[in-house]
Amino acid sequence: MSAATESRRTRARHADASVGDAPVEAPAAAHEPVPFAQPRPAGPVGWVGIVLAVIVLAVAVVLVHDGLVTLGVLDGEPWVVAAADAVGLITPTWQLALVGAVLALVGLRLLVIAVARRRRPAIPLAAGGGEYLLGVDAARLASGAASQVDGVLDARSTWGRGTVRVDATTDGDPATDERIRTVVTERLAALADAPRVVVRSRRARSDAADGGAR
C-alpha cells in the first residue's frame, strides 16, 4: 500500500472517529462537500473579445455615418469613399505583400485562439472545498517537505504530468532519498490523484555538508 493511500485512509478514519465521539457539536465530516468550480482562465479569448468588439463598434460608426450622409442627414462625403480615394489603385507591390503577410499572421493568430483547447491547469485536492493547486504550488510544497528531511541541504522540485521531481543536495546518506520520497508522498497525499515522486540527490561537497547540516 502506498504512503499516499495510507495517509488518506488514516485521515478518513480520523474523520469518522470525530463524528462518533462528538455528536452534539457539528463535526467537520458532517458537512456536505462543496462542489469544485473549475478555474477558467480567460487567456487570449478574453482580450481578443474586447479588441474585436472595439473594431466592430468602429465599423458600426463608419456605417452609420456613411448611411446618414447618403440619406442627406449629415453633410460631407462618405468615409469609405474618402478612404478608397486616398488608397487609389491597388497593384501587387512588395508593400501590399508586407501588409498581406501581417494580415495573414493576425488571421492565423485569431484562428489559433478560436480553436485552441482550454487549459485546465488545476490540480484538485481530495478534501473538497474547491481546493486546488497549480503545478508550481505542488513543486514548492515538495521542496518545502524535502528540505525538512534530516540530511537535506537544499531541495528544488518541478511538476509535470502528475509527477513531482525533487532534486536534492544531501550529506551523502544513502537512506536520504527514501526519506525524501516518503515525506513528499505524505505531504502531497492530499491531492485527489496522488502524484509519482521522483527523487534525485547528489552529495554536497564536504565543506558544504560540514557547515550546512540541518
Binding site: 463598434l57 456613411d66 510544497l141
Partner: protein, 193 residues
C-alpha cells in the same frame, strides 16, 4: 467571463480570422505571381474606388444606417459583457417573503472567510469574494500558503471552513474555487535572543 461570452469570442475570432488569413496569403501570392499562374483570370490591379457604385445605390443609406445601429448595439453589449463584474453583492437568504427580506452582504461573508483562513496554521494570507457564475454562487478564495505547511491537515481545515461558510449563508448550491498559492520561500520566524 462566462461560458457563453467565451463561445461568442471564439466564433467571432474564427469568422474574422479566416478571411484575414486567406486575404493575407492571397496578397502575398498575388505579389509573387503564384496567384496569376494558378488562376489566369487574376486581375492586375484592384480599384477600391468602385465602392462609389455601391454607395450610389438607392438602398445603401437605409441599409448602412440600420445595419450600423444594430452592429453598434451588439458591440456595446459585447463590450459591457466583458466589463461586467461577477461579484454577487447582496445574498437573499431563505425565509424571505411578503413580511420582509433576509439578506446577507456577500463581501462581508467572504471577508469573514478570509479572516478565518488567515488564522489556520500554514496560511500567511487570504482573500475571498463571492461571484455569480452560471446562475450559482461561487466562493472564490486565494490562500497564501507556507511551503512547509502540512497540506493534508490544512486542506481538511480549509474544506471545513468553506463548507461552514456555505451552511451559514444557507446557499445549498454554492460551489467553491480555493487556490492554495504556495509561497516561494518558507516564512522564517525571528530567532529568540
Amino acid at each position: 467571463m462566462n461560458r457563453g461570452l467565451r463561445a461568442v469570442n471564439r466564433v467571432v475570432a474564427f469568422v474574422v480570422g479566416l478571411p484575414l488569413a486567406v486575404a493575407g496569403v492571397a496578397a502575398v501570392l498575388w505579389w509573387t505571381g503564384t496567384l496569376s499562374d494558378a488562376w489566369p483570370q487574376t486581375s492586375g490591379a484592384l480599384d477600391p474606388r468602385r465602392v462609389q457604385e455601391v454607395v450610389d445605390t438607392e438602398w445603401f443609406g437605409a441599409v448602412a444606417t440600420a445595419g450600423g445601429i444594430v452592429l453598434a448595439l451588439l458591440a456595446l453589449w459585447w463590450l459591457a459583457a466583458h466589463l461586467a463584474s461577477p461579484r454577487a453583492g447582496t445574498l437573499r437568504l431563505p425565509g424571505s417573503g411578503a413580511d420582509g427580506r433576509l439578506t446577507l452582504d456577500g463581501s462581508a461573508l467572504a471577508g469573514h472567510v478570509a479572516e478565518q483562513a488567515r488564522r489556520l496554521p500554514g496560511v500567511v494570507g487570504a482573500r475571498s469574494v463571492i461571484d455569480r457564475e452560471g446562475g450559482r454562487h461561487v466562493l472564490v478564495s486565494t490562500l497564501q500558503v507556507d511551503p512547509e505547511a502540512d497540506l493534508p491537515v490544512l486542506s481538511d481545515e480549509v474544506a471545513t471552513l468553506v463548507a461552514r461558510a456555505r451552511d451559514v449563508a444557507e446557499l445549498p448550491g454554492m460551489a467553491a474555487r480555493t487556490r492554495l498559492a504556495v509561497q516561494r520561500r518558507a516564512r522564517r520566524l525571528p530567532r529568540v535572543r
